[in-house]
């Protein structure tokens, strides 16, 4: 525990990146693997579930120090960190000059985790006896662990750099080995720093490289010719691995989703051994992506019946090549990876490559961005042609240039029957927002719901009709929908005073109540903001 306190203090006491890495390296060189594994657990942002309630800890502190409740509150208000308040107040206790030192793993495995199975009296007895025999720095860390909020101010990148330095491995290998779920055991740590690079985990994905949102004008990126431009697909970012006879599909959330998309994994079995692809899982039909909602519904399904598969067929649109012939190619420049990718997938129509968008200038590209909506994409991805495939969100080489729709939460007020094939259903709707205590209709919208949702809503409308005006029905103001739209204008012709451009239904917000809907004032603020 003392070693961890030294590390915590060293990290806390410097703003220099190199000094932080040095402190981490020192720690990992000295700590036995069973401790290092736990330290790594906390350093990578994982947390123990809270072992004790803060109320208990506060109560014991007050008993030990005689600090009344109001004064404890006062102190807490000035410090703002409970673990620290307790550690500072307990300084009033007499402590032995020499304190017992136990390794971190012993603290966690033999002392802290077993607390869960004890009753409050026994918990008190143990915690108080530890408090009385610990120096303040360690007591502070102990409290952080007890309350499940131990966080160390250091980025994953620095931790990886330090471990890599200790292990004599390239940082990407360490990052790779830290992917997925792991438990803080000595075996795990030893394997992490093991120089043997042929470690058997054939399923393990590479860390994803994430694009940063483009906040400056695209012209600032320099010559367009240096950039590969792709549509930004709205699906599930994934990594498809074909290794040692197996196929694994990982989501960006490090979840294995191979089973959820049998059509993708079956097709992937035909890829050559030792291939890893970065891409996007999309609901996809006839060379066109379908709305994200379809994919989402498919994920929600327990059983993948043939009907579900037919309704939302999925495809893996390929962005990048990470491993070829069992070799990590992430360090190659994008233009070379792209050439190898095209060669690899030339005769494999099941794996379409995300096409690059051609434009003569940034200006022309900006115009093309307008097509994004029709294509069911979210904007553009801009990737520097000579960029390596990095890890995490490193700014500079990959940007996402999104078109953000405006959104408003509105209440369904009127329903209108559809046309043609859908004339027997209520498919067109009028939505309202709050104007003071009244709901003011602001827009009509019809696209965006799936057939299944339209059916469900149709039944609800019929059961909750208030009045009929010819074909139109007014309904109970109960259902909230998230609407997306492209623009807003002042309009004297509308009673609300505003008109929305291209409104559509993004989501049926069954989680919201009518009072959660937006107000007309909020919409009018957009008007002001957009001139």
């Amino acid at each position: 525990m003392r070693r961890l306190a030294d590390l915590y203090e060293a990290l806390d006491q410097t703003t220099s990146t190199n000094a932080k890495v040095d402190a981490l390296v020192r720690y990992f060189q000295q700590a036995p693997p069973e401790d290092a594994a736990w330290a790594l657990y906390f350093l990578t942002g994982q947390k123990l579930k809270r072992l004790l309630t803060t109320k208990l800890l506060v109560g014991w502190t007050q008993e030990l120090t005689g600090i009344p409740g109001w004064l404890f509150e006062e102190v807490y208000a000035s410090v703002g960190d409970l673990a620290e308040v307790i550690a500072l107040l307990l300084d009033a206790l007499e402590r032995p000059a020499e304190t017992e030192e136990l390794p971190l793993s012993v603290w966690l495995e033999q002392r802290l985790l077993p607390l869960r199975n004890l009753d409050a009296a026994e918990q008190r007895e143990r915690v108080v006896s530890w408090w009385k025999a610990m120096p303040r720095r360690e007591l502070f860390l102990l409290n952080k662990m007890l309350t499940g909020e131990l966080r160390v101010g250091v980025s994953a990148t620095l931790v990886i750099r330090a471990v890599a330095q200790v292990a004599g491995l390239p940082p990407p290998s360490v990052a790779h080995r830290l992917m997925g779920t792991w438990t803080p055991t000595p075996a795990f740590f030893q394997q992490l720093v093991s120089p043997d690079v042929s470690d058997g985990h054939s399923s393990r994905p590479y860390p994803f490289y994430l694009a940063s949102p483009l906040e400056q004008p695209p012209e600032s990126l320099g010559d367009l010719a240096d950039w590969q431009v792709e549509w930004k697909w709205d699906g599930i970012r994934g990594q498809l691995i074909r290794r040692q006879g197996g196929v694994y599909l990982w989501s960006r959330g490090e979840e294995l989703i191979t089973e959820r998309f049998p059509e993708i994994s079956e097709a992937a079995a035909a890829l050559p051994e030792g291939t890893v692809l970065d891409g996007e899982v999309l609901a996809y039909e006839d060379g066109r992506p379908l709305p994200f909602a379809l994919l989402q519904r498919r994920i929600g399904r327990q059983k993948l019946t043939p009907k579900v598969l037919a309704e939302a067929p999925a495809a893996f649109i390929v962005y990048d090549l990470l491993e070829l012939g069992g070799k990590d190619v992430r360090e190659l420049p994008l233009r070379e990876r792209r050439a190898k990718l095209e060669a690899l997938l030339k005769d494999r129509p099941r794996f379409p490559i995300s096409p690059s968008v051609q434009a003569a200038s940034w200006e022309e590209l900006a115009k093309a961005r307008g097509e994004a909506r029709e294509r069911n994409v979210e904007g553009f991805m801009l990737k520097r042609r000579d960029s390596a495939y990095l890890t995490g969100r490193k700014r500079g080489d990959w940007w996402k240039w999104k078109i953000d729709p405006f959104t408003v939460d509105a209440v369904l007020l009127y329903a209108h029957p559809g046309h043609g094939r859908r004339s027997s259903l209520y498919t067109d709707y009028t939505f309202a927002v709050w104007n003071g205590t009244e709901l003011q209709p602001v827009t009509k919208a019809y696209s965006g719901l799936t057939d299944e949702e339209i059916g469900r809503l149709d039944r609800w409308i019929r059961a909750h009709t208030k009045e009929k005006y010819g074909p139109v029905r007014s309904v109970e103001p109960e259902q909230v929908f998230e609407l997306h739209f492209e623009g807003i204008q002042a309009s004297p012709r509308h009673k609300s005073g505003v008109a929305l451009r291209f409104p559509r239904i993004a989501r049926w917000r069954t989680d919201k109540k009518p009072q959660d809907a937006d107000s007309l004032d909020t919409l009018k603020e957009l008007l002001d903001a957009r001139g």
Binding site: D12, Q13, T14, T15, S16, T65, I67, P68, W70, L71, E74, V75, S78, V79, G80, D81, E84, V85, L88, L89, D91, A92
Partner: protein
């Protein structure tokens, strides 16, 4: 004993004010009506008694000042050479219109004093700022028994407890050594009057390596040296020849120098801040210092309580800092205590 005569009409006016407390708060500051003088006034007055030379206690513009002799040099620096400053030795008594006043060491900074007032058998003590921890740069705090004690409460919360100053000085030296080993300068921010000299004096027990000081500290260091305080050798930063490397050097500067262009000359450096506020981690992190050294010239929580008890005061007025919590806590412990609102700043940098 020296006696000061007031015009008769004033004496008569004041003799009718016997039911008033000996000290009240007026727009000018703490006011002793029977003595017709102010203590640490924040606006110009006729006659000001000054506890110590810090800016929130010693302000210019008053007609006459009275302070402790040990602080004379600092008071002249603070108030200007033209100010009329009378002084008394610690413990020496002076009658001012029927009120007997004397100055007693407060242990806060060089020449700092508590002011004792006695009028018709009743004794009040205004603590000014004080600490109980030993300090090689000034006379130690003296307990003065009184009926009413006006105490400061800069660090009036139970989280504030100070470690032994010698341990803090060792930490500072270790930090300096570590930075020397990596060729970096150590820029230590501290209050220019008192804290800086205390650090230089504490370090003198451990080393005789010289340190650089910012201009704001330099002349104050000289006053301390004149008063016979032993400190490590110092040199003014601006007197260093252009192009001299500060690698491995210790530099003392006021916090206001942080982030200024003045810092550029030090090349690679680490920053530290020596202050009681550094006891709380968030205070250091918010201000972006690499290191915080918990070192204060004010009493910590246990010493505030101890001092109140030592004075045996029947009534305690609390000013400066965490006045409400300390007064509340004292009341709960059976002491007649109340906060006293004053615009003293509570030593944001100390």
């Amino acid at each position: 004993m020296v006696t000061v005569e007031l015009p008769r009409y004033l004496n008569e006016a004041l003799s009718s004010s016997q039911s008033l407390p000996l000290i009240t708060v007026t727009p000018q500051g703490l006011y002793c009506a029977p003595g017709h003088f102010h203590i640490d006034p924040w606006r110009p007055v006729e006659r000001a008694l000054i506890t110590h030379a810090h800016g929130d206690h010693a302000r210019g513009g008053s007609h006459r000042y009275l302070g402790a002799r040990a602080g004379e040099g600092l008071l002249h620096r603070r108030l200007g050479a033209d100010s009329v400053i009378d002084t008394l030795e610690y413990g020496e008594r002076l009658s001012i219109n029927d009120v007997t006043v004397s100055f007693h060491p407060a242990g806060h900074v060089l020449g700092s004093a508590q002011i004792r007032l006695e009028h018709q058998g009743e004794v009040w003590v205004v603590s000014g700022d004080y600490k109980r921890a030993p300090d090689p740069t000034c006379a130690p705090f003296e307990v003065v028994r009184c009926n009413t004690f006006i105490t400061e409460a800069t660090f009036g919360l139970p989280i504030y407890r100070w470690d032994d100053t010698r341990l803090v000085a060792e930490d500072i030296l270790k930090w300096w050594d570590a930075n020397r080993a990596t060729g970096r300068a150590s820029v230590l921010f501290c209050y220019a009057l008192g804290k800086a000299q205390r650090i230089l004096a504490e370090l003198a027990r451990l080393t005789d390596r010289p340190a650089y000081v910012h201009g704001a500290l330099h002349s104050l260091v000289a006053v301390y040296r004149e008063a016979g305080v032993h400190m490590i050798p110092t040199q003014l930063v601006s007197e260093v020849e252009k192009g001299t490397s500060f690698a491995g050097a210790l530099v003392l500067a006021p916090p206001s120098a942080g982030g200024s262009t003045w810092m550029r000359r030090f090349g690679e450096y680490e920053t530290g801040f020596a202050s009681g506020w550094m006891r709380v981690r968030g205070n250091r992190r918010r201000r972006g210092f690499d290191r915080g050294f918990v070192l204060s010239d004010h009493a910590d929580w246990p010493d505030l309580l101890r001092t109140v008890a030592d004075t045996q005061a029947e009534r305690v007025l609390v000013t400066h800092g965490y006045t409400d919590p300390l007064a509340h806590y004292l009341r709960d412990s059976g002491v007649d205590a109340a906060p006293l609102a004053t615009p003293f700043e509570g030593e944001a940098e100390d």
